[in-house]
């Protein structure tokens, strides 16, 4: 099998779409009410060292993804168990994204279509794309990225005309606690979810810089989140915003430029479709890749289809209702700690130690 490559730019585009994927419609947490935008900024700053750590892991072992790294660092048995953890996380994340996706679509337009079909269509498309190789995904993402960026910038500029600046006052009314609380929520969903990319960026072209991808991806993705959050607060304001599951959709539906330029909200759905597809594809890729590595086979593609079908099956019954889905967001922030913080830390420390030791060992041999 010839080695596949993605360029630095494609990696960056993937990461940005991955970050804004579900958050675009679900909106960031409203723990801090009108200070949510401060939470976003704080979350970006909080995520920076963590993401640099992920980039370091990718950088330490060029051309090897997280599963190979785990395998090399921890040996066979422990490595497999840890890999299984990551596979579960990627798998579960995929399930959540698919469910988000179908809930949103069935709420706004396809009210009578069974969610199963919506999920299936998305997943089949994702399988098809990833089966074409990660390169296909990369190129497709680069193409879509521009469209998404234009739409989002347009929406934010138009939302600016409807903004009521009084909605941002008073600043820090509830004190700093809710801001930090909200910042952590945003850190775990979606910023630190980029841990998945430790399995993708191993396909970076030799010589490409993983730090750059993570760093820029964080700032651009976070910046878009910030713009969307500012727009939502400015246009809708509290407490109305806290009554809505899909604030961005409502915000955009309010934009009225003259009598002709209105009803843009479908653009939000389009952007979400595109970003969601990227996110689902990456999760599928990571799951299949990890499974393949655990079972010592090198072709992850053959496993894509069953993994995807399993994804959909689980997405069907993981939550009994939409309320449960949104309630889960509160659980997720704690649930994600081991996968987003503890395991990467452990891997990083052990990897550094191992590399240092083997290096000194090599020198001694000489």
């Amino acid at each position: 099998m010839p080695k596949e490559f993605i360029t630095e730019r494609q990696g960056l585009n993937m990461m940005v779409l991955f970050i804004i994927g579900s958050t675009l419609v679900v909106g960031v947490t409203d723990a801090a009410k009108q200070d949510s935008w401060l939470s976003v900024i704080l979350a970006i700053i909080m995520a920076l060292p963590m993401l640099m750590l992920y980039a370091r892991i990718v950088h330490l072992f060029p051309g090897q993804d997280i599963f190979m790294v785990i395998h090399r660092v921890f040996g066979r048995i422990v490595g497999k168990v840890l890999s299984l953890f990551f596979v579960w996380y990627a798998f579960h994340l995929g399930v959540l994204v698919i469910r988000n996706f179908s809930e949103f679509l069935s709420e706004i337009s396809l009210t009578e279509t069974p969610q199963y079909l919506i999920q299936l269509v998305v997943v089949i498309l994702g399988v098809w794309m990833v089966k074409g190789s990660i390169e296909v995904l990369g190129r497709w993402t680069s193409f879509v990225f521009n469209i998404v960026l234009v739409i989002i910038i347009g929406i934010c500029l138009m939302a600016f005309t409807e903004t009521n600046f009084a909605n941002f006052t008073p600043m820090l009314y509830g004190g700093f606690r809710p801001v930090i609380d909200g910042a952590y929520s945003i850190f775990s969903f979606p910023l630190a979810e980029t841990i998945i990319f430790t399995a993708v960026l191993s396909f970076l072209k030799p010589g490409a810089n993983s730090y750059k991808v993570y760093n820029r991806g964080l700032w651009i993705g976070g910046g878009i989140l910030l713009a969307i959050t500012l727009g939502n607060i400015g246009v809708l304001g509290y407490p109305f915003l806290s009554t809505q599951y899909y604030p961005s959709y409502i915000t955009v539906s309010l934009i009225d430029l003259g009598t002709f330029f209105r009803r843009f909200e479908i653009l939000v759905a389009v952007v979400f479709l595109l970003c969601g597809l990227v996110k689902v594809s990456i999760c599928l890729f990571c799951t299949a890749n990890g499974l393949a590595k655990i079972f010592n086979t090198h072709d992850y593609r053959v496993l894509l289809a069953p993994v995807a079908l399993l994804n959909v099956s689980l997405a069907l019954f993981i939550y009994p209702s939409m309320q449960a889905m949104f309630e889960w967001v509160n659980v997720y922030r704690y649930y994600a700690i081991p996968f987003q913080i503890l395991l990467p830390l452990l891997i990083w420390i052990c990897a550094e130690a191992k590399l240092r030791l083997s290096k000194t060992g090599a020198i001694e041999k000489d």
């Binding site: 069953p306 079908l309 399993l310 019954f317 993981i318 659980v331």
Partner: protein
């Protein structure tokens, strides 16, 4: 509903599985089949209206029992 599911799964078997089966890699074939059957049985059960236990409440109870909330 179940009909559509079965059709989709059948399609996957036809288009996806047969080349793999011919690849004569036993391990992959078994892995594929086991995942496949697992997901198919889950969807069929859901289609028949069986309430499958979701992992979400379990994870939630684990986290709550850790006392972080």
């Amino acid at each position: 509903m179940i009909l559509i599911m079965t059709l989709v799964y059948g399609l996957f078997l036809l288009l996806d599985f047969i080349p793999i089966y011919r690849g004569k890699n036993r391990k992959i074939t078994w892995l594929y089949l086991s995942l496949f059957i697992l997901s198919y049985s889950m969807t069929v059960l859901i289609g028949f209206g069986v309430n499958l236990p979701s992992p979400a409440p379990l994870i939630k109870s684990i986290i709550t029992s850790l006392g972080i909330f």
